[in-house]
Assembly symmetry: C3
Homo-oligomer: 367 residues x 3
Amino acid sequence: MSAMPDRIRQAAQRAQADLADETTPLLRNAWYVAALAPEVSRQPLARRLVDIPVVLYRREDGRAVALEDRCAHRSFPLSRGQVVGDNLVCGYHGACYGADGRCTRVPSQAQVPPGAVVRSFPLIETGALLWIWPGDPALADPALLPAQPWMSDAGWASSTERLHLRASHVRLHENLLDLTHLSFLHANSFGTPDYASAPFETVLDEAAGRFSLHRTVSPTRLPPLWAVPTGLGGVDAARVVSSSFLSPALHVVAVKFYACALPEDAQPARAIRTAHLVTPESATRTHYFIQHARNFALDDAEITRFMHQQLLQAFQEDVDGLEAIETLLAGYPARQPEISFHADKASLAMRRWLKRQAEAEALSRAG
Amino acid sequence: MSAMPDRIRQAAQRAQADLADETTPLLRNAWYVAALAPEVSRQPLARRLVDIPVVLYRREDGRAVALEDRCAHRSFPLSRGQVVGDNLVCGYHGACYGADGRCTRVPSQAQVPPGAVVRSFPLIETGALLWIWPGDPALADPALLPAQPWMSDAGWASSTERLHLRASHVRLHENLLDLTHLSFLHANSFGTPDYASAPFETVLDEAAGRFSLHRTVSPTRLPPLWAVPTGLGGVDAARVVSSSFLSPALHVVAVKFYACALPEDAQPARAIRTAHLVTPESATRTHYFIQHARNFALDDAEITRFMHQQLLQAFQEDVDGLEAIETLLAGYPARQPEISFHADKASLAMRRWLKRQAEAEALSRAG
Amino acid sequence: MSAMPDRIRQAAQRAQADLADETTPLLRNAWYVAALAPEVSRQPLARRLVDIPVVLYRREDGRAVALEDRCAHRSFPLSRGQVVGDNLVCGYHGACYGADGRCTRVPSQAQVPPGAVVRSFPLIETGALLWIWPGDPALADPALLPAQPWMSDAGWASSTERLHLRASHVRLHENLLDLTHLSFLHANSFGTPDYASAPFETVLDEAAGRFSLHRTVSPTRLPPLWAVPTGLGGVDAARVVSSSFLSPALHVVAVKFYACALPEDAQPARAIRTAHLVTPESATRTHYFIQHARNFALDDAEITRFMHQQLLQAFQEDVDGLEAIETLLAGYPARQPEISFHADKASLAMRRWLKRQAEAEALSRAG
Ligand code: FES
Ligand code: FES
Ligand code: FES
């Protein structure tokens, strides 16, 4: 009753077995964005990150703290408690925890019992973002932070946003690494019909776990999202895009625009960059943070507002589409394996890499 | 702690093991109603049928198409795409599928990869209904279509409706084959107290998979639903009912009415027929289509409206009751087996037949 | 990656294995409150009790009946039927059940089939409460009823309430046996800061399954809830509390108040008592009935209203907090074991006892 020939199905099944998907264990030894910096305050913030309930708050000097959001005593969510000084006091029986997760006081007794401690997570704040290391703290090397210099550079005007995706982070990474979908999923926002068939090249650095693709669409007409701020509406323009998976937590899309009528170097630099900051909430839920920046018209608040609003509308199309896939698959276990296209080359390499990383991490935990 | 003697419980459990219920695999090699004909248009329609996500649309010449609602590439629901000519274009990366389910174009590459195909389902349109064969297409014999001639006969005035039932289709079939419930579940709509105890006979054709019961309630008083259109209110009348399971997809209830004061053949024929069109959505969810017809007052739109509205109210009582059972059972695994009544004779035969059919189909898939 | 040293974690895990929690089978051989007496009428009432669907109604002479809420025929909820005389008539095909659960009539046939019987549960009505024995009826000894004399004594003015808790009854019992939480969870209602650190003693009667703790907070200032009705606002007062687990279904909190300026016996008796009536709905859902009483100002309806409203607000804080724990734990299987405090002494003994009782009951069912 299958539509697919057996031989092809078996080959496709074998290929798929090597790819990360919603059943692959989540990578914990990595820096992920926990929150936009302004979200964290003296009021505790509850957030599930990489399947761990986490509570975030700030000390009196402003430094952020991330603790496991479960009191060691009777599992009350610490996020329902109160920040007192640099500590977090449980709202059930008043156990008091320091920023290192150690319980320092139990109101009903003189001594703190051994074992009264919750996990405390390494955090780094850079620019508008707060990064967390949900895995083994001994491995939390700041040098591994995937944040890019432009993300906190005054030469780039940027805005941020937080979205939520009821789908696997793997599907979001795949979406970001295959931009042929712009012509279809985003036909009404920033896609153009010539996008899907434009030539592209991929750069796959398996050792570093970096996967990118580069695409030049030229000559093309820019959609309003880009035509309005760049002033390149109604003329033949070039749209030079690179899309890079830099870590399980960060994908950067960088785009340059120029008019075809003049040599590129005779024109002002008009570049935009979007950091897609991907943090698994659970296997099938994803926190999706955005930092969008441009290197021109830095002080034009109206351009910031326009691009932010237009981009968010497009990213919501991704969210809606990926959620539709996740819902479909959850209710359809008897499906065929996926058939891939040439344009999936980078995303297949990325998914194989994610799967191997997850297996290596599982092994190292067991060892 | 059981209320039921052990010996009786064990016998009841053995009997129940032979009966189809919500744990029995769904029959796929059968014609089922996929949709009312006017539901399907140039706009794709998503519908889960027999646990398969299906998308329905019409070709330029009006012929309907049913495809598996999952793109072979990255599982995007094809129902979120666009109909272009006779084809369906995936809304994610633009793969284009013909009415036969074969992918004919991938915009980002010159060739279509092998295996890029989705299932295409046999369809037959008759009168107001669109029938689908969700099983092996090689077995989709049009001669097996359970549609009855009167369902598309101009001598019968009919109206259609689509209901949805959050309960197993087996429970709905059982409800339709045991009309003693009219006196209780429908006490406020089309049931009368004398209905439950009226004599009946059953005709069980196990070979053909057809099970009916025939009941004459006479003399009786007709409820408004039947008294108003037939003009037989306030007098002794006969109500002659046959109720027939004709296939897993179709149950027909046929009723004749006449006044007891005169010989039957001295009176106008006043008959109504209701096709209960039963399509499992999943093991515990059912699409419930209705076609209701009469052979008198064919052009009286007010009678059509009155009977449609009254009947729907009664069928909603069935839906509510069956959903209450499904909910109860889902939360009560430690229950006793069912105890059957004489009136269940036809429905027990039907459930044994459904179970044997499902086992045979499972065997033929494995073989 | 754990915050807790291995040795401590292993010891804590061993200790926790002996404690009842949401995975422990529910005790059925016990009297539980099924309903507040006025809830039960000639209109059938559906309620899930100890994982059994139950229907409650009253006979013509007012005596309450509790039957399994599932017709022996096709599992229709009997609570959707009608009370006729002393019987309950199924709303699907009209099977008629007596108060003893035996089916006495099937409308469509002359004889009632053997096995057509549903469970009937022993009930006792005392004061405002209706108690049910969901286990083996042969063991339903009225002498085991945990109701206390004051609960139906005219010398105590009382009010009742029904709450619902989406959490395990074990967590509610634990909450009631560890009142150090008043200073934190109830900081805004009836807790005061000195409560958590006040000295207490516990009385553990493992043989009888009774566990209490006694605490005197003195001198203290009473919160408005107690200060207003007792007239002891703004002065040093004593608050003498005992909190007792008397059965899996009943916990009584008894409090006395007096001014510190005078000897206790020179002052009017001002006592309040609250029966916390705990009935598992399922492993993680709990019916939570309250009877609150005082032995002073018996006829002052305004005091009744004031205390009822204030107490309910406080109990809602417990409900919210316990539900937050249940939700957290359901989504966090990879957690550390609980670390206990000295104040948990009585609740640990109670949880060990509940676990042993459940194991004994499981054994006796199997034997
Ligand atoms: S649960 Fe946090 S102190 Fe008890
Ligand atoms: S998912 Fe349909 S073309 Fe990619
Ligand atoms: S289900 Fe109760 S009489 Fe049939």
